[in-house]
């Protein structure tokens, strides 16, 4: 019975600590506050880009700890497919993360419903550290579910040796494809949306269902079909295939993310060209903006929440945002007060232009999208495969969007 007596003492002591500890106590065994930061390493992202972002975050943590010696930040990177598992595992044990850097395609509504994240309150001064539109897209029911860290604008990347200039329009892509230039396009949702956006169509539910939407969608699908008929225009399923295709010379032109630039530059050197995505008949392309965001854990004590918020705000301050943008050279700041030296950094200038046209998903749209992405993708895949004609698919997509919108999936 000696063992049970020892167990009793340990448990009684912990019970005492639990009862007596102030709600703000975070680390009874350490003098400071400890927070756990999980960083999602997107499986779609470029490994080099991820390594750079991770190193930059480590540096930020180091700097933050230098200024806040009592703060202890545990940083851990996890692949996308393991992140949710880890969050669930930790939360069920009362060890939920205090701060999470999530990829832009995360379903925040779902995470909140499951009790893994909770909204953060930002003062008006704190809100000024972020572009209002970015914050707005991370809000649900007036509550801020996350705050942005950086922006990765979508671009067009091409090999200057084989293609001196990026095509300015979608029609030019088909024309150049007919002339033997090789193009790689993404058949995933993001890739579809890039093209659809150029036709003035969005696959996301909108508050107002414009009557001409279906007609524009039909044109976009017809372009898809035509592009797919060109032997030198290939549709691939992953970003990785696109990157490797350009590096290996299989493609001369691909849609890319600004985060891929270091990897592509390593392979192509000065021959790598970047440009804004080609425009469509309805105007400039409006692709989705990739924007990693900080979400806050639901099991943090007030002190941990305070520390997590302070760190998130620290990464969003003018000095750090500017420093990250200039040092990485592949991201744009989310802080509106920063004016980047665009003339001195031509890549940044292109990225800036691309970001102006890009669209963003609201948390509700993202929630909707993740639930219906497969259905929409499979319909368009049928067009690409020739199983169904654009004329047959366009109304189906539209009716599905309408049905989903009427079911309340949208804001």
């Amino acid at each position: 019975m000696g063992q049970s007596r020892l167990l009793a003492m340990v448990l009684a002591l912990s019970g005492l600590l639990s009862a007596c500890g102030p709600s703000g106590t975070s680390g009874l065994f350490s003098t400071g506050t400890t927070i756990t930061v999980l960083v999602e390493l997107s499986t779609k992202a470029d490994p080099l880009e991820q390594a750079k972002v991770e190193a930059m975050l480590q540096k930020q943590i180091k700097e933050f700890k230098r200024l806040n010696p009592q703060a202890n930040i545990r940083f851990r990177g996890l692949p996308s497919d393991r992140l949710e598992q880890e969050v669930i595992y930790r939360t069920k044990r009362g060890l939920g993360p205090d701060l999470m850097l999530l990829a832009s395609n995360r379903d925040l509504i779902n995470l909140r419903q499951e009790g893994y994240i909770s909204p953060v309150a930002l003062s008006s001064q704190e809100q000024n550290s972020f572009k209002a539109t970015y914050l707005k897209h991370l809000r649900q029911g007036g509550q801020q579910l996350a705050v942005p860290l950086l922006v990765f604008p979508p671009l067009a990347c091409f090999d200057r040796r084989r293609l001196p200039q990026s095509p300015q329009t979608l029609a030019a892509i088909i024309r150049l494809g007919q002339q033997g230039h090789s193009f790689g396009l993404n058949s995933s949702f993001e890739g579809l949306d890039e093209v659809m956006g150029s036709f003035g169509v969005t696959l996301l539910p909108e508050k107002e269902n414009r009557p001409s939407q279906q007609e524009r969608m039909l044109k976009a699908l017809q372009w898809y079909r035509e592009a797919n008929l060109q032997p030198d225009i290939s549709f691939v399923e992953s970003d990785e295939e696109l990157r490797q295709g350009l590096q290996a010379g299989r493609f001369e032109w691909i849609p890319c993310s600004s985060g891929w630039i270091p990897t592509l530059q390593r392979a192509l050197g000065a021959n790598l060209g970047i440009a804004v995505l080609p425009a469509g008949p309805e105007g400039v392309a409006k692709p989705l903006l990739r924007m990693p965001m900080w979400a806050f854990g639901a099991q943090s004590s007030p002190r941990q929440r305070q520390l997590a918020k302070r760190f998130a705000m620290f990464t969003g301050n003018v000095v750090n945002q500017r420093s990250m943008a200039l040092k990485l050279g592949t991201v744009l700041p989310v802080n509106p007060t920063i004016a980047l030296p665009l003339k001195a950094y031509p890549n940044l200038a292109v990225m800036d232009a691309a970001s102006r046209n890009a669209t963003m998903t609201t948390v509700e749209q993202r929630h909707f999208l993740l639930q219906n992405e497969n259905k929409l993708e499979s319909l368009i895949a049928e067009v690409l495969a020739g199983v169904q004609s654009p004329n047959a698919v366009a109304p189906k997509i539209q009716s599905q969007l309408n049905a989903m919108t009427s079911m309340g999936s949208q804001p």
């Binding site: 019975m1 049970s4 167990l7 009793a8 340990v10 448990l11 009684a12 912990s14 019970g15 600590l17 639990s18 009862a19 500890g21 709600s23 106590t25 975070s26 680390g27 009874l28 065994f29 350490s30 400890t34 202890n72 545990r74 851990r76 595992y89 939360t91 069920k92 044990r93 009362g94 060890l95 939920g96 009790g115 099991q299 004590s301």
Partner: protein
Amino acid sequence: MNEIAQLFQDLLADLGRIEVLRQFAALALALGAWRFLKARLKLENRRWPQEARWPWLAQVKPLANETLLWFCLAAVSSWLVTATGVGDLARFLTRFFALCLLSRFGLVVLRFYLPSKVVKETDLRVIRPLLILVGALQLYSQFADLNQLWSTQVLHWGNDHLTFGALIMLVFGTYFVTAGAELPALVAAEVMRRAFELNGPNHRASALVIRYGLAAFGLVLILAYVGVNPTLLAAVGGGLSVGLGFGLKEVFSNFVSGLWLLLEGAIRPGDVLLLESGKGEDPCEVLELGMRATTLWRDRDNVELVVPNQTFFTQAMVTYSGLRDRRRRGQVLIGAAYRHPPETVIALLEATALTITRVLHQPAPKGLLLRYDDSAITYAIRYWIENPMDGVGVASEVGIAVWNAFHREGIEIPFPQRVLHGAPSLPGSADSQ
């Protein structure tokens, strides 16, 4: 090592989280409830229904209070999970306690089939340390990434390094493989005994061979897991060869001799050997064939002799339990007077030997007339016994029985007699005068 220190510091910080403390507090409540119930129910002291009918109930009775504690912990942790959704840490501790409890029940079952000494040794040497190690690692995995800790480099030399996991495997894995091989080896040997009808010594020898085989296999797996550089192994092997050539020669020789003897089956635990000592020959039973030496038991003075394996390997040994059988033939010599017919004496000797319990009836005792001595005819009564260790004791019993039989039948056991005849007196001597 700094990384390890940081990981444990993080673990301590997590222990202080409010949700974690809440789970510990709930478990403390369960403990309080258990103490109350234990005092009320007095499970271990009261008489259980059917206790007389099922004797195994007495064996599990000492675990009743622990089982009750598990029920309390399980109830509280399940309630915690259902009510708050946060209680997997409490559930983990409950499950770990259940594992410990299950091991206790397992030991109770093992005691029915295996020697209690083996079960106790396995419990103390293997099961308890293993539970502590597994519990510590699993507890850590509740708070942090065990895989990360496992792959953390803790030792560096040159271009090589040793991870925490490799270190654990080297230290604890080696220990558990060597200490824990006994029980599975015994079980496997038992299966083999039943399947192939092995006798006692063969059964024990097979258990030892299986044990060494398991340990060797485990060690090879550990080395493969750790990723020992083959070049390094070759270098170590080279160095070891030199060491074996000088200082470790005897040790290695004894080890190899032991293995060889086991595989050959020349000497096995349970065998009876005739060991020459200064005072004659003593039968000794082989208790254990160790890595370096063999332990023998001599019943004459109840001592255990530790004999280097090499001795058996290089010297001729007399064994009673070799290839043929374990039976030993004993003999008692006795003299009977010349006037008794040899057929009568021999029949009496054979009949007398059969009256001794430990003398086998088959092969039957055999009486022999050995020779005509000065005072008596020397007879031998030869008999067989089952246990070679009983030689002296049975010889004594047979001797006493023969004396009693001779006394009863009036057969004389003569002592040496010398008849002196005086020489006749010569003429002219003083007497004649």
